[in-house]
Symmetry: C2
Subunit: 355 residues, 2 copies
């Protein structure tokens, strides 16, 4: 893809040096803003790729408070629509996602792209406010002015993180990041959600022989547009080659895709950089074929997200009624005590209150 704009995936014409690098000034007023800045202020700051404004907007999108999300929507409404390329990257904890994303991201920067990295299910630990484990992830990307690494969200996930990712990708694109890498741990539901909103979906697996089948959920292999065996360097190179054969065989056994795309199995080392250029070539081939199968999947994902929001709005409306609340208090005790199921309780509630 480099600096061309194939298939509607504009690279925004950005290249290092052409544009004023975004402000990294720690004294930026937004960083320490106590009051909420205006929509216009935030929109302008995001358009010049101000990190603090970007982070602020994403935090609003991820908020559990409806008022915050309303505000975030107004920001989205005012931002220009810029198409970028989004790449989902999944793999079990320990597979080497951070190292690979760092190397891949640097490679993309060198090719003139601007790269944002979003992690949707962080695996780190927080003790008394100090975040351990965050500091050393992707040190080069995190400090490069042409890249933006979204810090892992604080606190408990709202459950709506996956849905908010769609808007977060849009904001990053509007800020001029023409490639957005969306990282997800290959456990739980999140990778299915990510799959349905990104243009390319990569599955990372371990080079360790014997571990090949660990940490990969059923159905994930079938989603991958390419499988990447990581840590293919030094002592592990031979194991990585063996693992890649295993996976190539496994993939050849699975049903072929309607689109005709045959997901390749690559071996890569984030440490040595081997295979990183190949990985980008593979992504470019996938783009060149018109992102096979993607538009249907995007529509499916969009529909599911709308329905989820409909459910939330209707649910909040109903549960907010005082008489419903009173009955809900009573029913939650019954469910907690095992006297009825959540579903039966929900139905009783709807029946009793004519919904």
């Amino acid at each position: 893809m480099s600096n061309e704009q194939p298939h509607g995936h504009s690279t925004s014409g950005l290249s290092p040096g052409v544009e004023k690098p975004p402000s990294m000034n720690p004294a930026d007023a937004l960083t320490h803003a106590r009051r909420r800045p205006s929509v216009t202020t935030l929109v302008k700051a995001i358009e010049r790729a101000d990190r603090a404004a970007l982070s602020k907007a994403i935090t609003l999108i991820e908020s559990t408070k409806a008022a915050d999300r309303d505000f975030a929507e107004r920001i989205l409404d005012h931002l220009p629509k810029k198409d970028g390329l989004s790449i989902g990257i999944t793999g079990a904890p320990g597979v080497g996602k951070s190292t690979l994303i760092e190397a891949f991201g640097i490679h993309l920067l060198q090719r003139g792209h601007r790269v944002a990295v979003l992690a949707i299910d962080p695996s780190s630990i927080r003790t008394k406010g100090s975040i351990l484990g965050d500091k050393t992830r992707m040190p080069q990307l995190a400090t490069d002015s042409r890249a933006y690494v979204r810090p892992t969200p604080t606190g408990r996930a709202s459950g709506g993180v996956a849905e908010s990712t769609r808007s977060t990708i849009r904001i990053c694109e509007a800020a001029g990041f023409d490639i957005v890498l969306v990282e997800t741990t290959g456990v739980g539901q999140s990778e299915f959600d990510v799959y349905s909103m990104v243009d390319v979906f990569l599955l990372l697996i371990n080079a360790h022989a014997g571990d090949e089948l660990q940490g990969i959920k059923r159905g994930i292999m079938e989603l991958a547009d390419a499988v990447v065996v990581t840590k293919a360097d030094g002592d592990q190179l031979a194991a990585a080659r063996r693992a890649s054969s295993t996976y190539r065989r496994a993939l050849s056994l699975s049903a072929s895709r309607e689109s005709g795309w045959k997901p390749p199995v690559l071996i890569c080392s984030g440490r040595s950089g081997d295979g990183i250029a190949d990985l980008w070539n593979t992504v470019e081939s996938f783009i060149a074929q018109g992102l096979p199968g993607r538009s249907l999947e995007h529509e499916r994902g969009a529909r599911a997200d709308i329905v989820r929001e409909v459910e939330r709005l209707l649910g909040a409306q109903f549960v907010g009624r005082p008489l419903v609340k009173r009955d809900l208090d009573r029913l939650q005790t019954k469910v907690a005590g095992g006297d009825t199921t959540p579903r039966a309780a929900a139905r009783a509630l709807l029946d009793a209150h004519g919904a």
Copy 2:
């Protein structure tokens, strides 16, 4: 706890030899049933701990089809309510959950309990119908007539797996399994859901030095009623001891609990069995203190589950209307194209159709 019944957690008075072991006859009619058996047939079979009936009922609970879930609810209505002890066990892939659960489960069987194991977010791979990785998990427990290991669900998770777990625990208890171990991978939202429905919540971590902070999500440490350093044997014993000190320190820094319970850090080896008896003693102490903080958390979880079901029912009702469907088709294209957000689309839909 052994065979006493403290704090409402009946062990059902079951002990090996006292009760006829449940049927393991592979020719059991239910295994190959093509038609759906009647509610009464299934209820009776579950009460005698018939594995096929149990699996069938759980599959119905987990189904994405409303008719299946309705049927499952009728089964639940007809089953006797038996209180058991549920223990949530979380930890990153590779931490040694299967090995520890196997050893812990065998220990509980030896103490006269009957044990069910549920995995709510399986990490295994499926190729052309053959399930790899499932066969060798917990081989002893899986073949013991006093235990039931729920096979990992097939296909893509419905997203409602966490909610269905509450009912699945109840069914296992009704089948006479007085201890239900609920296994979840420490990534995603599922462990928060599990936390709010089990009596005891254990966090498993790695003995490997340096890996301590990998794969543990923020907030999980704060939920753990006990932290277990796994694989504490052979070469890794010293590393496990060091890791346990690290965690003990980390825990001593976090805010103390209202209940006064101080989560201990244990070291265990599923392979050698060391520390397994201690782990059970810890669980018993927690029970003896009245499962501190649990009833509030159970109510909270139950409320969230009811609200989720209310949302689903209201959403299905609304989206099922033909005119809504037509508009949804149009809006999903706009959302997929980045022209609007799922939330704005949902609101437009509700506004247009007077909901």
